[in-house]
Amino acid sequence: MHMADALLSPAVGAAFGAGTLGAIAYCSKKLKENMDEKLIPLMGVLGAFIFAAQMINFTIPATGSSGHLGGGMILAIVLGPYAAFLVMASVLTVQAFFFADGGLLALGCNIWNLGAYPCFIAYPLIYKPLTRTNRSSGLLLFAALLSAVTGLQMGSFSVVVQTLLSGKSELPFNAFLLLMQPIHLGIGIVEGIITAGVIGYVRALRPELFESASSSRPLAAGISLKNVLIAFVILAAITGSALSWFASTYPDGLEWSIERVYGKTELPEQEHGIAATLKRLQEKTAFLPDYKFKKSEGGSKEKETSSPWPEVDTGTSLSGITGALIALGLIILIAIGIRTIRGSKPGTP
């Protein structure tokens, strides 16, 4: 659910960018106050860990699609909120640069959506109070599940709000919400299960990593993931087929893994899914008010219906289009010119 530059308006992008920068500065200050030098290499390497872990895929039961780790909650549990936020921000920054996930202006939004909610809301308000006294594996799972779901729900809600505030998308609020929240419920549940699994596993092997020694009794190695999965299947049945349908058609779960796991084979099915979504949404919002036609630069006549070829006059924007084409041609010519003058290698296209 990486927010994209193209959907943002400068005001929204700048606002969230400023908020994120402020949060980064605040976290840096907080960490420096009682700096544990050991934390510096640990944070860096854990960031790289999230990166590497995201490249390993697994199959999500009942949907057939594949998922990967988000990692915000694991980081928060191991490092605490401030360091975790910085690590999450660094991971997203590298992703923005090297995979162009979202873009540079949207980076602020993305760090906010994926970093701030798990670190500053889900972890301190849900996970920590729940696991403070009792450390049973069931409770761990419950806490991880609840906090991961909450964090992701807030994150995806914030994607919706950012997109709508920017006004580049035509999706109505309700439809967009209906599209985003259920998918991220699914993603959140999976994230929660994995978080609990990893934390449980690590705690069994290296209990000293979770410093608060109070009543930390080591867990049996194989935490009952089977029961968890059964619960998950029941839950999936309750939320209905709609959820799994969404989860398998929505591209974001696949965004990362599309090339890695499924190659191109998954794409046709996905398009099919999108088309179906469109249709359903269209039916839902069929009562859209009759819009007046937008005036083009040339001052077109106002008409109704969606018939694409009304035979009316005017429109000097044609010269704009030819101009754009000329500009495009010029740009390409300039590029070719530079390449020829510099005698570039023939191998590079």
Partner: protein, 266 residues
């Protein structure tokens, strides 16, 4: 295996950034600033504006040619990341089907226009971001960010992360390969195995971190990350920034496409 491919891809972009061209030699700060100015200007266009965006292609195209960056690399990377913007944008034609006149006889629905606008903005902003990293080494960008006011703890975190991405990816690759060799078909792709794999990777990571810390301590680490490389804003940077500003200003303030079209008409 696609895993190896992804690994290779990051390495490739990294290797490109060590080129030595006019663009590579510019100070990272000037490139970061220019890219941000460019992105913000592109984003500032209204949702139905398509034609004024076209001239902006000049910026990425110039950067690409002057820095000898392979065009296909950028295009391929753009295609891989496109889902979200495209997925959201594709609803515009559905919900916004007012007609807009392009000429006397040609009409287009406003939704397609805004969708097209999103796609072009997407291409411009993403290619600008990719070109920034293809022409500037990541440590260079981090250094620039630090000198532009981003907290040093965060930039050193970025540097650390970047340095160990490759190491940990290899680690993950070994783990996955070992799992693949021991499982057949779809076995071992479930959540339980996954949690175990991640757990192993996690513990190896923690152990590596403590080894790194010891190594750093024995080399005199005092809690600060220092950089040797000095960079200075020179005449070339001033010229580059001025050119970008001028270009952005001209494109934003004047109707370049209309002007060019007008020349042809008369």
């Amino acid at each position: 295996m696609t895993f190896d491919k992804e690994y290779f891809n990051i390495g490739y972009l990294d290797r490109l950034s060590y080129g030595d061209t006019v663009i590579h030699r510019l100070d990272p700060r000037s490139k970061v600033i220019a890219t941000m100015i460019f992105v913000i200007t592109v984003i500032s266009y209204g949702k139905y504006q398509v034609i004024p965006l076209i001239p902006f292609l000049l910026f990425p195209v110039l950067l690409m040619t002057l820095s000898d960056t392979p065009v296909m690399l950028i295009v391929k990377k753009m295609l891989v990341v496109s889902p979200f913007a495209v997925f959201i944008g594709v609803f515009n034609p559905v919900f916004d089907n007012r007609a807009v006149a392009l000429s006397d006889t040609v009409y287009i629905s406003a939704g397609w226009l805004s969708f097209l606008s999103i796609l072009i903005k997407f291409a411009l902003t993403i290619s600008a971001a990719l070109l920034l990293i293809a022409t500037t080494s990541f440590p260079g960008v981090c250094n620039a960010l630090r000198r532009l006011g981003v907290p040093s703890l965060f930039t050193s975190q970025l540097l650390f992360l970047y340095r160990y991405i490759f190491v940990l990816m290899e680690e993950a690759m070994r783990i996955v390969r070992a799992k693949d060799l021991k499982s057949f078909g779809s076995r071992g792709t479930g959540v339980k195995v996954f949690a175990g794999l991640i757990g192993v990777l996690f513990i190896r990571t923690i152990e590596r971190a403590s080894r790194i810390y010891n190594a750093m301590l024995s080399r005199g680490f005092d809690g600060k990350m220092k950089t040797m490389k000095k960079s200075r804003l020179g005449v070339a940077d001033a010229a580059f920034l001025a050119a970008v500003l001028l270009m952005v200003y001209l494109f934003r303030a004047y109707d370049i496409a209309g002007f060019l079209g007008g020349i042809i008409k008369y």
